[in-house]
């Protein structure tokens, strides 16, 4: 029989073990799913690793996929540290992409490139931030649960995008496809290495990680959101302005997700369309948790998850294992990670039933 006993403390060993074991179990789950395709999981995983890190090109694709994860997870960490469950990076990413695209599509092609890029990046950040401020306001003023609002706003954002793509922003020359005009060169983030798609977004990502690290570790604001996240009543007792901090944190969190969306368009896709990969907004949640809300570790994990994605495309093409395996592994990791929370609260003992 299993016995559950409440525990007060969690050892650092257990804290470190939970993410590692979760990843391992996630891979095992993936292996089981692979078995159903009548393929040897070991071969698939080998191909996956090779497809992610095997050559300069594949590694560059891994980094390309890591860029949005780095940006979004850095932002999510700010919100999560405050115990604000921002599940809405998906929507913030889309709105950021739309805001940035507005300028990318409407400014003259002759405008100076650095200036236009600065404008669209700011617009992308601003769009995501505004979308993040809606649930922030609902929470701060009316105590509306942010899990629900952020999640539902994701759908709203998606439908706004669909409306624009089937309606006013559709390129008349796209033969009816829901695509915008392509971005002019001055609206494209520069590529950093020849023959790869690594773009300037990676620099933005690194800057974001450093800034978020400094914010949460060194500033008054970082301390305040920590206190709010850990104990709201203590925060109120100490006179911390909770409303203001929720707004700032969600502006940063949503803003970075918006910037990620814009960077994906301006750096990779080069036009607005319906499929702009907002799913990174969900994957980044797993990344942030695996990293125990440390932005630097989150950056490394983003690269690993980027590899999972890049490798996933490779195995689909090379050995015809469906790309869905990647999603299976990611969600299984999150599942086990959440299961691990139980271990943090309870000590579980196995005992034979003697009675």
């Amino acid at each position: 029989m299993l016995l559950f006993e409440k525990r007060e403390t969690v050892s650092t060993k257990l804290k470190a073990a939970i993410p590692l074991v979760s990843v391992f179990l996630g891979l095992v789950t993936g292996a089981i799913a692979i078995l159903f395709t009548r393929t040897n999981p070991i071969i698939v995983y080998q191909a996956l690793v090779k497809g992610a890190f095997g050559s300069v090109y594949t590694f560059s694709e891994t980094l390309v996929a890591a860029i949005p994860l780095i940006l979004i997870s850095a932002g999510l960490i700010v919100a999560f540290r405050m115990n604000f469950w921002n599940i809405g990076a998906y929507g913030q990413y889309i709105i950021g992409a739309i805001f940035g695209s507005f300028f990318a599509l409407n400014m003259p092609a002759t405008m100076s490139r650095p200036l236009l890029l600065t404008i669209i990046c700011l617009a992308g950040f601003l769009g995501g931030a505004l979308w993040g401020l809606i649930p922030a306001a609902l929470k701060a003023f009316w105590e509306v649960n942010e899990v629900i609002t952020t999640l539902l706003l994701n759908y709203v954002a998606l439908y706004i995008l669909k409306y624009l793509m089937y309606g006013p922003w559709r390129n008349p020359e796209s033969h009816g496809f829901p695509l915008s005009k392509p971005f002019e060169l001055n609206a494209q983030l520069p590529r950093l290495l020849p023959r790869t798609r690594i773009h300037f977004g990676i620099i933005l990502g690194i800057i974001a990680v450093i800034i978020v690290y400094i914010i949460i570790k060194k500033t008054k604001f970082g301390y305040e959101i920590r206190v709010i996240g850990e104990n709201k009543r203590a925060a109120r007792y100490a006179g911390i302005n909770i409303t203001k901090n929720i707004f700032i944190a969600m502006a940063i969190s949503g803003g970075l997700a918006g910037l990620a969306g814009l960077a994906q368009l301006s750096g990779v896709i080069h036009m607005l369309q319906i499929e702009i990969n907002p799913g990174y907004g969900y994957t980044a949640i797993v990344v942030a948790w695996l990293a125990s809300l440390n932005p630097i570790i989150a950056m490394l994990i983003s690269v690993a998850f980027g590899g999972l994605e890049a490798g996933g495309y490779q195995i689909q093409m090379a050995i015809r294992v469906p790309f869905g395996i990647v999603g299976t592994i990611e969600s299984a990791v999150l599942f086990f990670l959440l299961g691990g929370e139980i271990l943090k609260k309870y000590r579980i003992k196995l005992r034979r039933n003697i009675l």
């Binding site: 029989m1 016995l3 006993e5 525990r7 007060e8 403390t9 050892s11 060194k218 500033t219 008054k220 604001f221 970082g222 301390y223 920590r226 206190v227 850990e230 104990n231 009543r233 203590a234 109120r236 007792y237 100490a238 006179g239 003992k349 005992r351 039933n353 003697i354 009675l355």
Partner: protein, 505 residues
Amino acid sequence: MDEIIVQAKGITKYFPGVLANNHIDFELKKGEIHTLLGENGAGKSTLMNILDGIYHPDEGEIYIKGKKVHIQNPFDAMANSIGMIHQHFMLVDTLTVLENVALGLKSQGLYIDKKEISKQIETISKKYHFNINPYSKIWQLSVGEQQRVEIIKTLFRKAEILILDEPTAVLTPQESEDLFKILNQLLKEGKSIIFISHKLDEVMEISDRITVLRKGKVVGTVHKKDVTKGYLAKMMVGREVLFSLERKPLKRRGEVLKVKELEAYNDKGFKALKKISFSVFGGEIFGIAGISGNGQKILAQTITGLRRATRGKTILNDADITNASPKVIANKGVNYIPPDRLKVGLIPNLDTTENAILRSYDREPITKRNFIDHQKAAEYAKSLIRKFNIMVPRIDAPVKLLSGGNMQKLLLAREIAERPKLLIAVHPTRGLDVGATEFIRKQLLKERDNGLAVLLISEDLDEILMVSDRIGVIYEGQIMKVINIEDAERNKIGLLMAGVNSPKN
């Protein structure tokens, strides 16, 4: 009569870093009331939770009526006629008495026979003069009544062995007397009782035998008739204990806090303060005595800005601070030791430094231009630790790992370091052991001697009598009477706490 009904042999229980029970032998005879006496953290609750199946011993054996048993969970305990009334009640606030009694009954399936249960509750209630309506919601009941519901729960389940974990901690002296009458009646009916306490007076009143625990070990088991209060205190603490504190003569200064016809509502929307008025002067400790739930907590919250006053004024040194923000009030010199250390005053998962700077993190030297200087913060925390001799496992360990006494020292140190004009302390020694309690009270007296105005709110009448210069008795949101310490009589205050006397200021 001397039948041994419960016997625990060599019970050992480890928690990470603590040996909570160290080879404990304990026995309960049929028809006796056996007290477990010990300071906080001695391991009393742990041992009893093992008997109730909530914890599982790492070593040792339990025998009920001579038969070896393995109690895996509270259902097993119930099957062995053990019923426990926990330190923190296990009741669902929003459900009725009846529903709480029915909860977890194995005999009840999906359908609950309300009529039958209600009839049985009424029978029990009548027999022991409980006066409990099965259809009242728990939150509508006083703490004393809730405790009786817990007793009903165990009797309903046909418990023969009753365990009461610090039942009097939440009761007034009068309510305690009532409880003792109930316990005596239960004994007459052949029940056996384990009673837990660290209050010596009541232990001497109610027990047959007493087992003293210290640091997880049994110090000894004695018959009450063979010992004195002082002897028990020494067994419990391991040294001589003073039952009073030395106090310097009062040097009262000007009025610091004036509360004028203040009113406020509690979370349930009831008026909890009704035109309450009183003053606190520099250099004195003004004690507020009362049974919990008569507006004490609301009063402290309203003065400190955590709750809105709907009427009246609070005035600090001639400045109106009514409904100012908590930060403004703190900056004006009001510091506050809240009743729940871990829920309000401290952040359990953060470390000593992060907790130490909660009041001062946003000013120099700790913060310059929005950046926190971690070195300065750590120095600040260390200075508090040194000054108050706070024991921390490591400076970067979460404060929830500190003992209750050390947590409270940290909290007090932080608040006093702000050099307040008024210190509000609510239940500052609740749940602390004798040593820490003595320390905290001495600090309050020391600050009083330095001219600080102290508003002490406590349910512990002994504490109020020991340190206060004046005592205001609160009842249903009003001050019944203010009494100078020279004129204070325990019994009279006890009656005032129960609302006997016409209200006047």
